[in-house]
C-alpha cells in the first residue's frame, strides 16, 4: 500500500467513526472501515457465462446506484462479444439440459429455491437497495421469487400434459404430440423488477429445457448477478443460464440477429428497441415474446411464458395388426 493510500484509509476510518454509514463514498479508491473497525470487504460483481464468473471481455464496468443515486457497486458492462460467448455456452449446455428428464429438471429448479431461501437476507438487502423498497416490501418480493421457482419446478414434468397429448386421427395410428424446447432463449429481463421480474422470465424458459442468455435490468443488475451465484451452487449445469449486465440497447441487437438464438423475450426493451429487435429476430424466425405479456410480477403467472418457448413434435405410430400373423408391431 502506498503512503497516499494509507492516509486515505486512515481518513476513511475517521469518517467511518463519526458517520458509520458513509454512503455514497467511492469505495473503489480506498477501503472503507466499518463501525466495528474492520476494513469493509467489497464485492466484485461479475458476469455469469458457461458456469464461470468472467469479467466483461471488454474490461468495462459501470456504476450501479441505489434508487437515491448512492453508489452501490461497479457492475460489468457486457459487450456483444460477451453475448456471443454466452450463446456459445448456452448452445453447449442445451443438449444435456434438454435431454435431462423433466423430473430431474424439476429437482434442479427446486434446489435453486432451496439455495435462494438460504441467502434470503442478502437478496432482501439487494432488492431493497436496487428498487428503493422497505425491507418488508423487498422481503415480499424475494419470498415471491422463491415461491415462483418452486411453482415452475413443479411444472417441469406437467407441462407436456398441457401442451401435448394424444390426437384423435381417422386411421389406425397413435398420434402423439409432445412439446420440445425450442433451443436458446435470449431474455431482456424486465427493467422494473430487478429480481422477481427476472426470476419470472428466467424460470419458465429453463423449466421446459431451454437454455438462456439473460440481460439483467440495466439500472439494477446486482440481484441478478447474485442470483448467478445461487445458480452456480444449485446443480444447474454450467451454461444453462448465462447472465449479463449492461445496456439492453447494446446487447439486444447482436442477440436478436444471432443465427444460433432460437427465441427472444423483449420484456426489458422499450417500444422503439423492441420494434427494431423484432425485425432483426425475424431473420431466422425466432420465437418472439413482446413486451407487456406480464404487467404485474406479483400475480401468479399463467403458462404462457412456458408455452412460448416450446415446439411441438408429432409422431404417428401404427396400431392394430400389421401382418398375417396378427402382430401389432
Amino acid at each position: 500500500m502506498s503512503e497516499q493510500d494509507e492516509r486515505a484509509t486512515k481518513a476513511a476510518g475517521k469518517a467511518a467513526k463519526t458517520k458509520p454509514k458513509a454512503k455514497g463514498a467511492k469505495a473503489g479508491a480506498a477501503a472503507e472501515v466499518t463501525a466495528t473497525g474492520r476494513l469493509s470487504v467489497l464485492k466484485t460483481y461479475k458476469l455469469f457465462v458457461g458456469g464461470k464468473f468472467p469479467r466483461s471481455e471488454s474490461g468495462r464496468v459501470y456504476e450501479v446506484t441505489d434508487s437515491e443515486g448512492n453508489w452501490l457497486a461497479n457492475a460489468p458492462l457486457a459487450s456483444r462479444k460477451d453475448a456471443r460467448d454466452a450463446v456459445v455456452a448456452a448452445r453447449k449446455a442445451f443438449g444435456g439440459w434438454s435431454g435431462a428428464t423433466a423430473y430431474n429438471r424439476g429437482q434442479v429448479l427446486y434446489r435453486v429455491a432451496e439455495m435462494l431461501e438460504g441467502r434470503r437476507e442478502q437478496f432482501v438487502g439487494e432488492v431493497a437497495d436496487a428498487e428503493g423498497l422497505s425491507r418488508a416490501k423487498a422481503a415480499e418480493q424475494v419470498d415471491a421469487a422463491v415461491d415462483r421457482w418452486v411453482w415452475y419446478a413443479g411444472w417441469t414434468d406437467k407441462v407436456a400434459q398441457v401442451a401435448g397429448g394424444a390426437n384423435p386421427v381417422a386411421g389406425p395410428y397413435f398420434n402423439l404430440s409432445t412439446p420440445e424446447p425450442t433451443g436458446i432463449v435470449a431474455v431482456l429481463a424486465p427493467q422494473d423488477s430487478s429480481f422477481l421480474g427476472l426470476v419470472s422470465v428466467l424460470a419458465p424458459a429453463i423449466a421446459t429445457g431451454n437454455t438462456v442468455v439473460a440481460v439483467a435490468a440495466e439500472r439494477a443488475p446486482l440481484p441478478a448477478l447474485s442470483l448467478a451465484e445461487v445458480l452456480a451452487t444449485s446443480d444447474v449445469p454450467g451454461g444453462v443460464v448465462n447472465l449479463l449486465s449492461g445496456r439492453a440497447a447494446e446487447l439486444g441487437p447482436p442477440l436478436a440477429a444471432h443465427q444460433d438464438v432460437n427465441a427472444i423475450d423483449l420484456t426489458g426493451a422499450d417500444a422503439e428497441l423492441a420494434r427494431e429487435l423484432e425485425i432483426a429476430a425475424a431473420d431466422n424466425l425466432k420465437r418472439v415474446v413482446r413486451p407487456g405479456l406480464t404487467s404485474d410480477w406479483a400475480v401468479e403467472p399463467g403458462l404462457e411464458r412456458m408455452l412460448a418457448y416450446l415446439e411441438t413434435k408429432t409422431v404417428w405410430h401404427p396400431t392394430g395388426s400389421l401382418g398375417a400373423a396378427g402382430s401389432a408391431y
Binding site: 443465427q259 444460433d260 431473420d283
Partner: protein, 327 residues
C-alpha cells in the same frame, strides 16, 4: 526483438558432414543450441496477443481456409464420408462461392483413390498419412509399401510419422535413414514426387530440445514439410512447439537456402487460434511463408469455425452451427 535462437552458422557443406555417421549426426544434433523454454513460451504467448480486426481479419480467415488440410483419420471412415468431406473441401460454404477452397483433404492410404476421384479437377490436393500412422510401429518394408501404395493411388502429399522409439533411444541415424527411404518411396514413375511431411508427434518427444533436434534431423533428411503431431495423442500442436518448428525452418532456410513448410496439427479449433498461428508465421518466417505452399493447418472442426466467422463478417450477424455442415 532479439531472436530466441542463435542461427546456426553451419553451411551446407558442414550440414552434409553432419549426416556422415551416427556419431557425427549425434554430435550435430546435440550441438544445436538449447531451447530457452521460458523465452519460447513467452514469445509464443506474446504473438498471440495481437488484435486482428476487420479487413485484416477477413484476409486472415480466407488465408486460413486456403491453408487447411481437411482431415478425417478415423477407423470408421467410409468412402461416403471421404466423398462428402471432399465436396466440402471443394466448396466449403455453398452459400458463398467466394469462399476459398481448402488446400488438401487428408485421409488414410486406402481412401486416397476415393478422395482423388472426388476432387478431380478442383485443384484441392490429396494428402495421405502413411508409414503405419499414427504409432509408426511397423517394419521399414511395411512402411515403405504403405507409402508407395498411397503414392500409386494418387496422393499428392505424404504425411509420415517418425519412429519416436528410435529417436528417444538416440538412434538418430536410423530415423534419418527411414525418412530418406520414405522420401525415395514418394517418387513417382514420371520423375515427379509427392511432397513429404514429417510428423514428430511433439507431445511424445518430452522436451523442446528434442523437438528442435527432430526438426533438424527431418530437414536434413529431405522433408518438404515438418508437422507437429498426429492429432491422436493428448498434447498436439501448441503455440510454443509450433513456433519452435517455425524457428527451425527459418534457421534452416538461412543456413541452406532451402525452404521448408510447417504444419501444426491437432487441437486448433477456433478462428482465434488460427489467426494466432498466422501472426506467428508472419513474424517468424515472413510473408513468403503465408501461402498454402508453405504453411498448413491439420484440422477438421477449425473449418466450421472459420466459416461461421466468415459469415459473421459478411452479414454482420453471428452465425451458428446450424449453418455449417455436421462432419
Amino acid at each position: 526483438m532479439p531472436s530466441v535462437t542463435s542461427t546456426p552458422t553451419a553451411g551446407t557443406a558442414a550440414l552434409a558432414d553432419a549426416t556422415a555417421s551416427d556419431a557425427a549426426l549425434r554430435r550435430f544434433l546435440h550441438g544445436l543450441p538449447g531451447v530457452d523454454a521460458v523465452g519460447l513460451e513467452a514469445r509464443a504467448a506474446m504473438l498471440g496477443t495481437r488484435s486482428i480486426k476487420t479487413t485484416a481479419k477477413a484476409y486472415a480467415i480466407d488465408l486460413a481456409i486456403s491453408m487447411i488440410d481437411l482431415t478425417t483419420l478415423e477407423g470408421a471412415d467410409t468412402a461416403g464420408k471421404v466423398r462428402s468431406l471432399s465436396a466440402k473441401g471443394r466448396r466449403p460454404d455453398p452459400t458463398d462461392p467466394e469462399t476459398p477452397k481448402v488446400a488438401a483433404i487428408c485421409v488414410y492410404p486406402d481412401m486416397v483413390a476415393t478422395a482423388k476421384e472426388a476432387l478431380a479437377g478442383s485443384g484441392v490436393k490429396v494428402a495421405s498419412v502413411a508409414t503405419a500412422f499414427p504409432a509408426g510401429r511397423a517394419a521399414l518394408p511395411v512402411k515403405l509399401a504403405d507409402t508407395r501404395d498411397a503414392v500409386a493411388a494418387g496422393a499428392d502429399e505424404i504425411d509420415m510419422v517418425i519412429d519416436r522409439g528410435a529417436f528417444l533411444s538416440g538412434r538418430y541415424l536410423q530415423v534419418f535413414e527411414e525418412i530418406r527411404a520414405v522420401k525415395e518411396a514418394c517418387a513417382r514413375e514420371d520423375g515427379s514426387a509427392a511432397r513429404l511431411k514429417v510428423i514428430f508427434e511433439t507431445g511424445e518427444l518430452s522436451t523442446y530440445d528434442n523437438i528442435r533436434r527432430a526438426c533438424w534431423l527431418a530437414m536434413l533428411a529431405g522433408a518438404d514439410f515438418i508437422k507437429t503431431s498426429t492429432g491422436k495423442v493428448g498434447v498436439n500442436a501448441t503455440p510454443p512447439n509450433t513456433l519452435l518448428l517455425m524457428e527451425a525452418a527459418r534457421d534452416f532456410h538461412a543456413a541452406t537456402g532451402t525452404r521448408i513448410g510447417v504444419k501444426p496439427a491437432g487441437g486448433i479449433r477456433t478462428t482465434k487460434d488460427a489467426v494466432k498461428y498466422l501472426v506467428m508465421v508472419n513474424e517468424t518466417l515472413g510473408e513468403d511463408w503465408l501461402s498454402n505452399e508453405w504453411f498448413r493447418f491439420g484440422a477438421s472442426s477449425l473449418l466450421n469455425d472459420l466459416l461461421m466467422q466468415r459469415q459473421k463478417l459478411r452479414t454482420g450477424r453471428y452465425s451458428g452451427p446450424d449453418y455449417v455442415t455436421v462432419d
